[in-house]
């Protein structure tokens, strides 16, 4: 289910960049500033900025937002405070979806232990991007455009709801590009494990309802494909 609120803890450049990129996806994007300890960034932003502290009093948050329908980003610059914030939120709200940012792998593990649903290790991710740019410049550019830029070419996840359409075929036996104009890269099974389309396991896996196909293609072709095999995107 797509959430309607995005709550970003951390009034800093990371927080603002996240807000800028996700603002079109949510009805409400709010940035929370940790008292006065965070540097005020002089930006003409139309985003809502509120203050918060690291006490366990979340009443104002509960009163204002439906946390079941919210996604939270923890992006405080101080690693220890960011971990403390994550653990506080997790202990108060068991089902909250928390994405946390961190510098290094060591604190990434701590954040996972603290209850973050997804951790983005900034240094590791940036370094990975740099090495990809050096080692595989074309792939990196193409994938960057597909994943992050405004492009007709998309990577989408398509949940199979009409497996009977494939008439008992195996994923590797279908000529995806000829029949549907898309390329299926991998299949994510119901248990969450993901397999490459030509892996031995997928070759012997009959397509069934609930499978999620990771497809690359032009937006219109993907929409057509979705109409045939499922309906909505999984979120």
């Amino acid at each position: 289910m797509k959430k309607t609120n995005a709550l970003i803890f951390g009034y800093n450049e990371y927080g603002l960049e996240i807000a800028k990129n996700i603002s079109s996806e949510y009805n409400n994007v709010t940035i929370f500033k940790l008292d006065d300890s965070e540097n005020t960034i002089d930006k003409n932003t139309s985003l809502k900025v509120e203050k918060f502290d690291l006490s366990d009093d979340w009443s104002s948050l509960i009163n204002k937002y439906n946390l079941e329908d919210s996604i939270v980003f923890c992006s405080l610059e101080d690693v220890a405070k960011n971990i403390f914030l994550t653990i506080s939120l997790r202990s108060a709200f068991e089902n909250l979806f928390i994405i946390a940012l961190t510098d290094n792998n060591e604190s990434a593990n701590k954040l996972r232990m603290a209850g973050a649903s997804k951790v983005i290790p900034i240094v590791e991710t940036t370094a990975h991007m740099i090495t990809d740019m050096l080692k595989k410049p074309i792939i990196t550019k193409v994938m960057h455009d597909i994943l992050y830029e405004e492009s007709d070419l998309k990577i989408e996840q398509v949940k199979i709801l009409h497996a009977d359409f494939f008439d008992g075929k195996y994923p590797a036996d279908i000529e995806w590009s000829r029949d549907h104009g898309v390329l299926v890269i991998s299949v994510t099974h119901e248990d969450g494990t993901s397999e490459f389309i030509y892996s031995s396991k997928t070759k012997h896996h009959l397509i069934k309802n609930g499978d999620i196909f990771i497809v690359v293609g032009y937006e219109t072709d993907i929409k057509e494909f979705e109409k045939l095999v499922g309906v909505e995107n999984e979120n």
């Binding site: 995005a6 450049e13 990371y14 960049e17 996240i18 800028k20 990129n21 996700i22 996806e25 994405i99 510098d103 290094n104 997804k118 983005i120 900034i122 240094v123 590791e124 991710t125 940036t126 370094a127 990975h128 991007m129 740099i130 090495t131 990809d132 740019m133 050096l134 080692k135 595989k136 074309i138 792939i139 193409v142 994938m143 455009d145 994943l147 992050y148 070419l153 990577i155 989408e156 996840q157 590797a172 590009s177 898309v182 390329l183 890269i185 991998s186 994510t188 993901s194 490459f196 389309i197 030509y198 892996s199 999620i212 990771i214 690359v216 293609g217 032009y218 995107n233 999984e234 979120n235």
Partner: protein, 521 residues
């Protein structure tokens, strides 16, 4: 000007401008003197083998009769090779043609007559300077066994061992390090010499007339003094009189201080020069490498990037002006120099051809000012080298672009884009991330369409990728610089295009082999 002198000068100009002659001369210089020349080490090893075989034959001959072949090899062949080497070294030690040309131009400039005898004197002086250098004398002595009829000269074979100094770099380093303490060693030697001289004379005076003393001559007194001061003390020659024993006590105490002082000199010389030795070793290693990635600044992101590049077996050099960060890079097993990446001098000191040997320069300081400064410096040295830089503050993006950076990575924006993609397509994001991670067996790769591949595979329909369980995502066309997703079967493949494929890395390897080997049917 006489005809002879005119001919002499013309010949000098001819040699100086002759490509053939200069190439030969450069080759000889490289093989004999240039440590950065890749074939020099083979020459050095060859010469060391000759030296060791020569000494081995000498040792063998002491108690046995060596075969005539060995003697011939030792006396003539090795000596002849050393003689040729000596002549070549003499040849490249100074350029005669340059001396003549310089003198001629000097004379022309001042309107004076060309001084032939001055040139001859100058040339002789230059060559004699070389002939009387320590290394050249050792070289000459090593040739002496050629005159094997003079039995005494055979011992000169041992001088060949000294030639090892020429070929083993570590010996030269050792000598260079000790040379830094020349004054201290000289002072110590003077002190030891005085103690030895005084004690020899004293003990001779006190012991020579004593019938029970084994010291009867000045030579024996000198021998006793050396054995005592060196703290060896064989005990074959000892002072027996109380006066002589008192001298012995003084010499023993002096010996302890001489030994301690010598040891500390060695240690301090090496400690002081250790960093220089390591630095010159790094520079030597770098000079021999190709496709080098220079990382300017060693902070958190640089650390991670280095780890990944090292895992990919790429050549990395870290430059950082901070001692602490340079040491950290060294501890992480990287080649690192404490050089300022923003100084032209730092790159000059590397003795590398930036355009040919350096693949990319990464400005990874987490400080925009430093990155702008470094990239401007690099751009001033080489207009075309690829520079990638981190951007820490969006407002500095134009400054970095203006400084000549090819590619900029702004991590905050990147994190924002990741967040957007993740919340939109979490399963797709994780699946793609898994494929792109280093540990995955499924990889995304670029396959370059080479001349060989294009000879047998003309169209996309010929690719046969399904049999290798590979997904061809698309083609990057070199001619248009565009990516064509899922190209139709009749798309033409041209040299320089890249196929973007996804598959198990073993299958991709096999597939590349298949593409290169496929025969036209």
């Amino acid at each position: 000007m006489s005809f002879f002198i005119r001919l002499f000068i013309d010949f000098a100009y001819f040699l100086n401008s002759s490509v053939w002659y200069q190439r030969k001369r450069r080759f000889v210089y490289n093989i004999l003197e240039n440590d950065d020349y890749k074939y020099k080490k083979y020459f050095d090893i060859f010469m060391m083998i000759l030296i060791f075989s020569s000494v081995s034959i000498l040792i063998y001959e002491v108690r046995r009769d060596a075969h005539d072949y060995f003697q011939f090899f030792n006396n003539y062949i090795i000596s002849f090779i050393f003689f040729i080497e000596y002549i070549l070294r003499l040849w490249i030690s100074s350029s005669i043609s340059k001396v003549i040309i310089n003198q001629n131009e000097y004379s022309d400039l001042l309107g004076r007559k060309f001084n032939f005898w001055f040139v001859i004197k100058r040339v002789f002086k230059d060559k004699l300077d070389y002939v009387f250098s320590v290394k050249a004398i050792i070289d000459l002595l090593a040739i002496m066994p050629f005159f094997h009829e003079l039995r005494l000269l055979r011992i000169f074979i041992l001088f060949r061992v000294f030639k090892l100094f020429r070929y083993a770099k570590s010996f030269q380093t050792f000598a260079a390090v000790l040379a830094t303490k020349k004054f201290e060693f000289f002072t110590l030697s003077m002190f030891a010499a005085i103690v030895i001289f005084v004690s020899s004379v004293l003990v001779y005076v006190m012991e020579a007339n004593n019938p029970s003393s084994p010291i009867n001559t000045l030579y024996e007194a000198f021998y006793w003094s050396i054995v005592t001061i060196s703290t060896v003390g064989y005990g074959d020659v000892v002072a027996v009189s109380p006066e002589g024993q008192f001298v012995a006590v003084v010499v023993i105490l002096s010996g302890i201080s001489v030994l301690a002082f010598t040891t500390s000199l060695f240690v301090s010389a090496f400690t002081e020069k250790l960093e220089d030795i390591k630095e010159s070793k790094v520079i030597q290693d770098i000079a021999k490498m190709q496709r080098i990635y220079i990382i300017c600044g060693y902070e958190e992101i640089a650390k991670e990037v280095s780890k990944k590049l090292i895992r990919a077996n790429l050549n990395i050099l870290v430059l950082d002006d901070s001692l602490e960060r340079t040491e950290m890079a060294k501890k992480d097993g990287l080649m690192a120099l404490q050089y300022n990446p923003g100084s032209v001098d730092s790159y000059k000191k590397l003795h590398i051809d930036m355009s040919k040997q350096v693949k990319a320069i990464l400005c990874l300081r987490q400080d925009d000012i430093q990155n702008v400064y470094s990239s401007l410096t690099i751009r001033s040295i080489d207009k075309n080298i690829y520079i990638l830089s981190l951007l820490m503050n969006r407002s500095n993006k134009n400054k970095l672009l203006h400084s000549g950076v090819n590619e900029i990575l702004y991590d905050k924006e990147f994190v924002g884009l990741i967040a957007k993609e993740y919340i939109g397509q979490p399963v797709a994001f994780e699946a793609i991330h898994a494929i792109r991670s280093e540990n995955s067996t499924v990889k995304m790769e670029e396959i370059l369409v080479t001349e060989r591949i294009s000879r047998t595979i003309t169209y996309v329909k010929d690719l046969d990728n399904i049999n290798y369980r590979i997904v061809v995502l698309g083609i990057y066309k070199k001619s248009s610089g565009r990516f064509y997703f899922n190209p139709i079967n009749d798309t033409l493949l041209e040299v320089g295009d890249h196929l973007l494929v996804i598959g198990n890395y073993m299958f991709i390897k096999e597939y590349v082999k298949y593409l290169s080997k496929k025969m036209k049917t």
